[in-house]
Symmetry: C2
Subunit: 336 residues, 2 copies
């Protein structure tokens, strides 16, 4: 299969190099081991709690493209769909640390949980204070291929945004961790795949799906979801995703929510907005008020065709953190 | 083929509806005829020259996703890969007009040129002053399937950005048109396709490409380029694109340029940044200084796999207009 890459073994470091060249005002990189930190770390601004995330590659722009003022302080990319080892996470967190402690945002996959935990222990031995926040927003399945408990998927962006906002306004470690946990506890997601993505390292499709079939509840590594079903119109597919989220408790009548429609890689901007309209309708029918929106391909699965829907109930504290400005390679918000 | 759409005949209006629901702070829509205008038109701000663009759909987020403060005032989506008719363009321009005239930014395709010209004549009869700016930045071929002369491709975003910045700071019609023409005259692009996209209306691939072959100089409708060649590493492919641009005069030794690496639809963020690194190297080898960067899928060809590289020599006037803040559904810039 054709990819726009050089040596398949260098995909992650070539990506980091391009990221740093294109966005040298926002990010700095290390290549051995690979990680991303903030360009403004030693610019003389007040020290902040460092918000650090990471995981296997193949989900770009998550996480490396979300480093910058108002969002992440560090990101650690593993090999494609493979957790970064603990020493790499440790090195990234050390580099990101500004002396006020580190909040680690960890998607709930067994490898990530173990490696971030070990990295936290290493940091603790060096008297760097660490708080870990687990994201497990995927309501599709309880356990999965790489996961005990629910998977962490697109809701991770919401957690990273609110934690980054709290850190940027100078909150202490415990406060940044608390708002991150609040968002992680509130956010729910579910996805659907129309076609598998293709791995740049193996050149192979990551799973098979019959013509005319879609996979409801897919994970961001192509892990099995709830069921295959015949392909149908977007409004029916999206109603099914919202229904699953609502059954889990994320769509109370009268509540105010953030609605995030996320592309999995090769889904067009037009399709994402068509899905957004369908999700908006499905929430409105349940008496849910969409007060904030995000539409784009932020938490991808290589070039998988598909979409996930994320719903996060918002109170004033989460709204203020979501609305705060941020500037990263992939996600820029201006104060509304 | 599977798409996340409802009725294929309603793809454009369903997209517009989702766009307006997700970004009601930025855009307003009409569905009959379909067009997008600014949400802030009657907000009490000072009247501006209206910058309006449009063309066939299938290139989203261009143009509808680029409406908002600091960029477009109106956008007119035709059917997929088909020019909007003159009355639709006329209606959009009338709705966008703030009494200071309209700059129409037109990609150089025969249908667009004719229909925008007719719309301009209709506006002229109603005493709305119009300046048309043609974008023909694709250096790949001289004439093409839908084009006499060069095609307008990703460089259109650069023209729209600088025109929108001039309008936002209050410049008069002639001045806004002048800076748009300056950018249109300076910007050069060339693209490559790895795989065809699939039309949401027909469900068919828009062209065929043998396994292992890529199309150098592809257009954004899958029009033929310069040649098929065997697929190779990104750095060789990108060097070829920069070489073609440089031979056309866009890469003077010592010049300062904007480098824009644009995804055609299903190219991953990691691949785009790998291509960016390769383009940066190819320019550096020619003594060209990259002073501004943009990386993302902004001017797409449905879900085609591929990339285009755009180089625009920048002087102080263009830099100031590029750096000015803007906020649109797809493209937000904060003052650096």
């Amino acid at each position: 299969m054709k990819k726009l890459i050089n040596d398949p073994a260098q995909v992650v470091t070539d990506y980091l190099r391009g990221l740093s060249l294109a966005h040298s005002d926002l990010v700095a990189i290390s290549t051995d081991p690979p990680f991303v930190t903030r360009a403004d770390k030693d610019s003389g601004r007040a020290a902040q709690v460092a918000v650090v995330s990471g995981g296997g590659s193949g989900h770009e722009p998550l996480h490396c493209g979300l480093v910058g003022p108002g969002m992440l302080h560090g990101a650690v990319p593993g090999p494609v769909f493979t957790s970064p080892p603990a020493p790499q996470i440790h090195a990234a967190a050390k580099a990101a640390d500004e002396g006020r402690g580190v909040v680690m945002i960890v998607k709930n996959y067994t490898g990530d949980v173990l490696n971030f935990e070990t990295a936290a222990e290493l940091l603790d031995m060096e008297d760097v204070a660490v708080e870990s926040v687990l994201v497990a927003d995927d309501v599709a399945v309880e356990d999965s291929t790489y996961t005990a408990g629910r998977r962490g998927v697109a809701g991770t962006l919401v957690v990273e945004k609110v934690a980054g906002a709290a850190a940027a306004r100078g909150d202490d470690l415990a406060v940044v961790a608390e708002i991150a946990r609040k968002a992680a506890g509130a956010v729910r997601s579910m996805g659907v795949a129309l076609e598998s993505g293709i791995s740049p390292t193996t050149g192979q499709h990551t799973f098979d799906l019959d013509a005319g079939q879609i996979e409801i509840g897919i994970g961001i590594h192509g892990e099995p979801g709830r069921e295959h079903q015949p392909h149908t119109q977007a409004k029916e597919i999206i109603e099914g995703l919202i229904d699953a989220i609502a059954r889990d408790g994320g769509c109370e009548d009268g509540s105010d929510v953030l609605l995030f429609v996320n592309g999995m890689g090769s889904t067009t901007d037009a399709e994402l907005h068509i899905c957004y309209g369908a999700a908006h309708d499905a929430l409105a029918a349940r008496g849910v008020n969409v007060v904030r929106s995000l539409v784009g391909s932020y938490v991808t699965s290589l070039d998988m065709a598909g979409v996930s829907v994320t719903v996060c109930p918002m109170d004033d504290e989460l709204l203020a953190a979501w609305d705060a400005p941020c500037a990263t390679p992939a996600f820029t918000r201006v104060t509304p």
